[in-house]
């Protein structure tokens, strides 16, 4: 096993790529009672179009999420029953680019690891089971549709990436889910649920050698799938126009979003993480509670605590979404655009502010280190090299304001901007 040592934080990471291609990451936490394991599949909602052994496949939107649900449903039992016997907690979730299956437990780690690896690696699909799941997923879709914040977020992404797989909700919609067939599910599974397309990250109470032995023994019992050639197809057409996209929903105050689609190239691996941290620092410098700009918007009563922003850097795309409830939506959009346009010029003068921000981010990383859920949740096993939060904090420490300014300038120079506005019929605009 490869050992990566983090003496500053008294932590170690063990890495081993198994013969079948599965990569295992083990991060023991001394003194902890609990063990958290995340089995990640490098497959998400955007992977619905691909070339398989030279032939083009187009699948219904929501297929990855559908597959996630179906993995729990076995011939004559539900996987939750198995976890229930050991008392472990288990869950799964699908994002644009990944599907993660996880458990956490203070008992019977080996047994739970076998359950996790087996239920994800040994599928059982039938026509009847596929049909029955549709009703549940429809209710899940409707639950998200009922949430205006969720709607605002996904509509903004759809406006940034129109006519592309990113314009679909992760779960798809009721008609697309209805189209999913047993054959679709099997094909998606066989294409993407392959050991070389998975990573297993385990944090908490564990003995690295013994844990690896358990995993190897489990994998040795399974036959490797036949090799396939897969090429993911994702075209993200450029938008012809920028502007405000309005929609109507029953909301207490108008909801504004401002989305920024990154069109600059993002480096891979550790450098990509550096890019992400730099963009976050940029937003902190201009839109966190520490910034003059935020303070002004707040005291002009254009924004309040509902203000937030997030930045996503994923396989093949990156974007930011800023959102807030406000009674002055058009003024907020105008002011945000002004603030953003001045970033490349103003950022160079923020030396002491940057130092303060680094201080805060550094402390935030120390805080994350106490949570094995965060350590494992933050980890991305598919960027070519292992980068843990212990690496991220070192990237942060060595980051300069010039680094941030350079990344910010590249990002903003080419970013396309779309605004979203959700309001009631009766709400007037300012």
């Amino acid at each position: 096993m490869e050992l990566i040592d983090y003496p500053n934080y008294n932590e170690k990471l063990y890495v081993q790529k198994l013969a079948n291609g599965l990569t295992v990451y083990l991060q023991p936490k001394a003194g902890f009672n609990k063990t958290t394991a995340v089995l990640g599949v490098n497959y998400g909602s955007i992977d619905s179009e691909f070339m398989l052994n030279g032939e083009k496949v187009v699948q219904p939107a929501g297929i990855a999420h559908f597959l996630e649900h179906k993995m729990f449903d076995k011939k004559d039992y539900d996987v939750f029953e198995l976890f229930n016997k050991t008392g472990a907690r288990s869950n799964a979730f699908t994002s644009f680019t990944k599907t993660n299956y996880l458990f956490s437990t203070a008992e019977s780690v080996k047994e739970n690891l076998d359950i996790l690896l087996d239920f994800v690696q040994i599928p059982y699909f039938t026509q009847q089971k596929v049909e029955r799941e549709k009703g549940i997923i429809d209710q899940e879709i409707n639950m998200y549709k009922n949430d205006p914040d969720n709607q605002a977020y996904f509509e903004t992404i759809a406006n940034l990436y129109p006519h592309s797989v990113l314009s679909n909700d992760i779960a798809g919609d009721v008609p697309s889910v209805d189209k999913i067939t047993l054959e679709d599910v099997e094909l998606a599974y066989n294409t993407f649920y392959r050991p070389e397309n998975m990573s297993l990250f385990i944090a908490g109470k564990l003995d690295p050698d013994q844990t690896l032995e358990w995993i190897e023994a489990n994998q040795a019992r399974k036959q490797s799938p036949e090799p396939v050639t897969v090429k993911r197809l994702m075209t993200l057409p450029q938008t012809d126009s920028e502007g405000i996209h309005r929609s109507t929903m029953d909301v207490s105050r108008p909801k504004v979003t401002l989305g920024l689609r990154g069109n600059d190239p993002v480096p891979k691996g550790r450098e990509g993480l550096k890019y992400e941290i730099a963009i976050s620092a940029m937003f902190d410098l201009f839109l966190s509670e520490n910034s003059i700009e935020y303070d002004k918007l707040y005291h002009d009563e254009i924004i309040d605590d509902s203000f937030s922003w997030e930045f996503e850097n994923e396989r093949g795309f990156h974007f930011a979404v800023i959102s807030c409830d406000t009674t002055q939506p058009l003024e907020l959009i105008k002011r945000l655009k002004e603030i953003i346009s001045t970033i490349p010029d103003k950022i160079h003068n923020l030396t002491s502010e940057f130092q303060l921000q680094k201080n805060e981010l550094f402390g935030n990383y120390i805080e994350m280190m106490d949570s094995e859920e965060t350590i494992s949740g933050q980890f991305d096993g598919f960027i070519g090299e292992p980068v843990t939060i212990y690496d991220e904090v070192e990237i942060l420490k060595s980051m300069t304001l010039d680094d941030v300014a350079a990344v910010a300038t590249d990002f903003l120079k080419t970013a396309t901007v779309q605004e979203g506005l959700i309001q009631n019929h009766e709400q007037p605009t300012d």
Binding site: N142, D304, L356
Partner: protein
């Protein structure tokens, strides 16, 4: 270790070297009266965002960044009959910070500043500051309707305690109550909170206890007091019939919420059977509600039950299609009947026990959970060793669970109806 800072002000430390951060919470507590809810919620906002020295939100925020992104918050809570103003702060341990860092004293000075020297002009909170946060609070209260599940929970609570505002009202107050508060009145109220509350301080992590105790002794307002005592358990009035409420909205899903009286409280002989009953009924992903309503009949994605042992109440909530409302209501009643009749497998019962024990052991990995556990045991005057806790869980049998299920009496139903796409 337990210390007394003054009469009526206790400090408990939970020393542990397992974590890289430490946490301090300060609870100011008194008996819950609904007239105070809006006031205490707004007060929490005003104590969190500014002080005399840090007289803008920006300065507080920058001070927190300077203290390595310490997470500071002031919030309101209700433990049964107890109304609580909670100040909390989490911060990294010195050994991970640059050499010679002494963050603990800085944190204590900061807490003292925020608590004892709020942003006031004469005998009121700074008016511009007061007004902006009052406004924000009203906007927040108005926005709750956007969150359908939470909105329904609050309506259900109101129905459940139809004649009892101290327990039926939302802890943050109403927009109307918030608007009616004036700055001088709120400042006066704060004087009472500070001088009359019972104060419980809890400190978890790897800290020098002397530094902490001496730090709190410097708080000039932390002086002797004789807080009134009261029972934490909430016993609701009897009601003649089931209370029902309905609201129609434009939306994509209906939310069905059902509340039962379950007169079993933390520390009672039936407490553990009640906890296990809830897990079997709808509290886990193997529960009867989850299995039969969701997995077998595809009627819901989210359906769950919860049990509050401080108020003796259990509730069920489900996001469903409007057309299935009657059927789901029937199915919930059927699952309760199954619980009374003991129609579930031994395997499921054993698994639920296993899961509770597993989660109990897992709690020790979260500093916040350790502190919360310590505090609840303290105020309830009921504590069990981990071994006793586990053996009590193990000892629960089917008869006991059935006895618990029989005590469930339907008390309130709230339907947030949406008949289709918005």
């Amino acid at each position: 270790m337990k210390y007394e800072i003054a009469k009526g002000i206790g400090l408990t430390t939970i020393p542990t070297t397992k974590f890289k951060n430490s946490k301090i919470i300060i609870n100011f507590t008194f008996r819950a009266h609904h007239e105070n809810y809006a006031k205490l919620a707004l007060l929490a906002e005003l104590l969190e965002n500014c002080s005399a020295k840090y007289d803008s939100e920006l300065l507080v925020s920058r001070q927190l960044s300077k203290m390595y992104g310490a997470s500071f918050g002031v919030t309101v809570l209700r433990y049964g009959n107890q109304h609580t103003l909670q100040v909390s702060i989490t911060f990294p341990n010195d050994k991970y910070l640059p050499p010679k860092s002494e963050l603990t004293s800085e944190i204590l000075d900061f807490l003292r500043e925020m608590i004892e020297d709020p942003f006031v002009d004469g005998d009121q909170f700074n008016l511009a500051y007061f007004r902006i946060h009052q406004n924000n609070m009203v906007n927040y209260l108005d926005s709750i309707q956007d969150n359908k599940g939470f909105f329904s929970t609050l309506q259900l609570q109101k129905l459940y305690y139809s004649n009892d505002q101290d327990h039926g009202s939302f802890l943050m107050g109403t927009p109307k109550e918030t608007k009616a508060i004036t700055s001088p009145k709120l400042y006066e109220f704060y004087g009472q909170v500070l001088s009359q509350s019972k104060i419980s301080i809890l400190v978890g992590g790897d800290l020098d206890e002397n530094v902490v105790v001496n730090g709190f002794k410097k708080f000039r307002s932390f002086v002797d007091r004789t807080p009134d005592t009261f029972d934490l358990k909430v016993v609701p009035d009897n009601v003649e019939k089931v209370q029902r409420g309905t609201k129609n909205i434009a939306g994509s899903q209906s939310v069905l919420s059902i509340a039962y009286r379950l007169p079993i409280y933390f520390g009672d002989a039936q407490y553990f059977p009640a906890v296990i009953f809830n897990q079997l009924f709808g509290g886990s992903s193997r529960s009867l509600l989850f299995t039969n309503v969701r997995e077998k009949n595809s009627m819901a994605y989210d359906i769950h039950s919860s049990y509050n042992s401080l108020v003796g109440m259990a509730s069920v909530q489900a996001g469903i299609d409007y057309k299935n409302e009657e059927r789901v209501t029937e199915m919930v009643a059927e699952q309760l009947k199954q619980m009374i009749d003991g129609h579930y497998s031994d395997e499921l019962l054993e698994g639920v026990k296993q899961a509770l024990i597993n989660q109990h052991r897992s709690e020790a990995d979260h500093l916040s959970a350790l502190i919360e556990k310590q505090y609840v045991q303290q105020i309830m005057g009921f504590s069990l060793s981990d071994a006793d806790w586990e053996s009590q869980v193990e000892a629960v049998n089917r008869e006991q669970i059935s006895e618990v299920a029989k005590q469930m009496s339907l008390r309130a139903v709230y339907q947030l109806n949406s008949r289709g796409q918005s």
